[in-house]
């Protein structure tokens, strides 16, 4: 079969609907044609019985679709997420039925809560076997309903072109999210008359973007113009909406300080003078306490997660709230908005900016600097320049900043190292911070880094991972080995499940219940996968070890032993207001 000419005819059919040529193709072939028509270049997946027809067809499309064989479907979907986050495109994941499909669930939940566009294709048993407890049958549609933006089961190949088009449209449009398409084996095998692929751009029951209401953008601008102490807090909506420039213009016009959620990180360069730092539980001191002193709080593309707000009845009670979001159900969900600005912030921000007056809020911005000085004195100084011989996570990140100059993609796992990395990492460009924010999925970073590298092939990708999380998906070293994926794996090993230990330290009288986790010799493990590595625990080795890692041509694993019982501060304890943030 000549795949090139087949592909050409698909594109022709798209461009010239009048000259549609009908082809007899299998459902499996059309799944791949749909992927190609949607511009997919990389697929992360794992084959199995029920998805074999698609893998068989994939054999003929190897020149157009790069398939990365992962070691576990969870690794596949996290890789798809990493790819989506750095590329701004939709991640595509293949898995088989039964366990293959259920292994996707954690990644779907993660992508759902972090608004990551994914299209997952799962194989399913033959339609006539549905409901019979057939081998590797599982009710994947019902299992995944709460963790997908949309899902659909195909039992007839004729549905494939339209459903694939809907899947890609739904995943990427509006507030993005994961879509799962379950295709029975008979539909994959079925030959049918394919008349060309038509991308979807409208579904009558689905409104990806609410219409922008001018009265609210005007009201927002008026409120900001009247504000004396405006505080902008921004989330991933700025990145997903490709509105980084619009956002920058917005805050610069009236000189408003801006603080970020963990997923908003990198939307605004970390050294921008109006970037006042991170919000929430382990965020910076200033943005937290001053949330309760601002007079207007402007939330852009963020959803007031409880890790950001702390206790809601003590959150920004004095402030008028302006909330910009593309998802109407986020408005008033946790924090009541005085001015709701529905819509894509790429459209709404410029509308507001146009009406903003130039202002001087330097006295207000200075208050953040004062808070920062306090935080430097109480926390940051010791974290970045420790007075003891024991390495800290913070100084490792700080040295990484120096060496990468803030140009690297940093993928983090979940826990103390994640908070430290997000607090101290420098970023010059957007889509550079990849982390599991909403779900807090340990084991995310190693596979996500694989995808992040495919999504940003020219960039340095560093996966910063704790000794707990890395052991959850360490099998993906095999994927890195087989494809020689140039990711840098930086394990910050404190020989504890550090964040849980910190809570046990602070809130459970140091009853260290099952947080003492042993690690293998990671360098030896990496060696087994033919990946070079090193392990250090002394300050004198830090810079050269990081340099070696970054300069190495290919994947590299560096383990750094850090203080066992260091805690991450500041901290807003659970159940407290942001004003009650602790510096120690």
């Amino acid at each position: 079969m000549n795949t090139m000419s087949d592909n050409q005819s698909t594109i022709d059919a798209q461009n010239n609907p009048d000259e549609v040529q009908t082809q007899e193709l299998s459902g499996a072939q059309v799944v791949l044609k749909a992927c190609i028509a949607e511009g997919v270049d990389t697929i992360f997946g794992y084959p199995g019985g029920a998805i074999m027809p698609i893998y068989d067809a994939l054999y003929d499309y190897r020149d157009q679709l790069e398939h990365i064989l992962v070691r576990h479907e969870q690794g596949g979907i996290h890789a798809g997420q990493g790819y989506a986050r750095t590329s701004g495109r939709t991640g595509v994941v293949f898995a088989t039925s039964g366990p293959g499909a259920t292994n996707l669930v954690t990644g779907l939940a993660d992508a759902m809560i972090d608004s990551t566009p994914l299209v997952c294709i799962t194989g399913q048993v033959f339609a006539h076997l549905l409901g019979t407890d057939a081998f590797q049958e599982t009710d994947v549609i019902n299992i995944t309903t709460p963790v997908t933006k949309w899902n659909y089961q195909i039992t007839d190949a004729n549905e494939i072109p339209e459903v694939m088009a809907k899947a890609f449209y739904i995943a990427k449009s509006g507030r993005p999210g994961p879509v799962l398409i379950d295709i029975t084996k008979n539909a994959q095998l079925q030959q049918f008359s394919f008349t060309g692929y038509k991308a979807c751009n409208h579904i009558r029951s689905y409104r990806p973007k609410p219409l922008v209401r001018k009265e609210f953008t005007t009201a927002a601008a008026e409120m900001i113009n009247a504000a004396e102490r405006p505080l902008v807090i921004f989330g991933q909506g700025v990145i997903l909406g490709c509105a980084e420039n619009e956002f920058k213009a917005f805050i610069e016009k009236s000189g408003m300080p801006a603080a970020w959620t963990i997923l908003g990180l990198s939307a605004l360069s970390t050294d921008h003078p109006l970037n006042v730092g991170m919000l929430g539980m382990h965020g910076n001191y200033g943005p937290n306490v001053l949330t309760n002193e601002c007079d207007v709080l402007i939330a852009v593309g963020m959803r007031f997660d409880d890790r950001v707000t702390g206790r809601l009845d003590r959150y920004a009670k004095q402030a008028k709230v302006i909330h910009l979001d593309i998802d109407p159900s986020e408005i008033d969900k946790n924090v009541k908005a005085d001015v709701p600005v529905w819509g894509d912030c790429k459209e709404t921000l410029p509308m507001i900016t146009a009406l903003l007056e130039k202002k001087d809020h330097s006295a207000w911005v200075n208050k953040f600097s004062e808070c920062m000085e306090k935080e430097i004195e109480a926390v940051i100084k010791e974290e970045l320049h420790p007075s003891t011989d024991i390495l800290t996570m913070g100084e490792v990140i700080e040295q990484l900043n120096v060496l990468t100059k803030g140009d690297a993609v940093i993928v983090t796992d979940v826990g103390q190292h994640q908070m430290v990395a997000c607090r101290y990492a420098k970023f010059n460009q957007s889509k550079s911070n990849v982390t599991s924010g909403g779900l807090g999925t340990m084991g995310f970073a190693l596979p996500a880094a694989i995808g992040a590298k495919y999504g940003a092939k020219d960039r340095t990708v560093v996966a910063v991972i704790g000794d707990g999380g890395v052991q959850m998906t360490i099998q993906e070293l095999g994927t890195i080995m087989q494809n020689n994926i140039n990711v840098k794996i930086l394990i910050l090993n404190n020989r504890f499940l550090g964040m849980v230990r910190q809570w046990q330290d602070l809130f459970h009288e140091k009853r260290y219940s099952f947080v003492d986790i042993a690690s293998p010799d990671y360098v030896t493990v990496a060696k087994g996968y033919n990946i070079e590595g090193n392990s250090i625990e002394e300050r004198k080795d830090l810079i050269s070890a990081l340099e070696t890692m970054l300069n190495h041509d290919g994947p590299y694993l560096l383990e750094v032993f850090v203080g066992k019982e260091n805690n991450v501060f500041p901290m807003v304890p659970q159940g407290c207001g942001v004003g009650e943030i602790r510096l120690k």
Partner: protein
């Protein structure tokens, strides 16, 4: 304050959507008091009526999250004073007892019931009304050897609704108009938002 809310949801006729909607409630551990789903007056569009006991704040959030689902066209919520609602009930009683002991004509008249089947061994009555009405007849027939009883879910018409035909036309447009976009919140609520 918790009270009865009746949700009216217009959806595509899609396998799995019932589950997708039902889990919005179970996720928050909210009991669905009754649920009816059936084709609406428009071909291909289903209409759900769901009855729950909740606070307005929670209901509003759920309705927005339901409306966000891809295959849901529109979701409304109403208190009892803004809808007309009915339930249907069927009662199966032994024909001999009923024929002997009850003045059937009076029963029918008093409770607005109808006879839908008469056999030598049993008779089936039907009544429509609100919960208290169907309950009253249930109590009466309970004294005459009631064999079986079934009640439908609540179905409701929104008093000031102008129907869904016009709205649907707008949903079908690629560029929807203000008219359908206006309602992530109601117009009154929107007005209160502008300060």
């Amino acid at each position: 304050m918790k009270q009865e809310y009746t949700l009216t949801i217009y959806t595509e006729n899609q396998v799995g959507l019932l589950n997708r909607i039902a889990i919005m409630f179970s996720r928050r551990k909210i009991n669905i008091e009754s649920m009816n789903t059936s084709p609406s007056e428009i071909e291909g569009i289903h209409r759900f009526n769901i009855l729950i006991n909740e606070t307005e704040d929670v209901v509003r959030k759920i309705v927005r999250q339901i409306e966000k689902q891809v295959d849901v066209l529109k979701a409304y919520f109403n208190t009892n004073d803004t809808i007309i609602w009915q339930e249907l009930a069927l009662y199966k009683v032994p024909t001999d007892i009923i024929a002997e002991k009850v003045k059937v004509e009076r029963l029918l008249r008093t409770y607005g019931a109808r006879v839908v089947a008469i056999r030598s061994d049993y008779t089936i009555f039907e009544t429509t009304g609100q919960r208290e009405e169907t309950d009253t007849l249930l109590k009466v027939l309970g004294e005459y050897g009631l064999i079986e009883f079934v009640r439908s879910a609540r179905i409701a018409i929104i008093k000031d609704s102008k129907g869904f035909h016009e709205k649907l036309k707008e949903f079908e447009l690629a560029e929807p108009t203000q008219h359908i976009i206006d309602e992530p919140i109601s117009a009154a609520e929107a007005a209160s938002k502008v300060v």
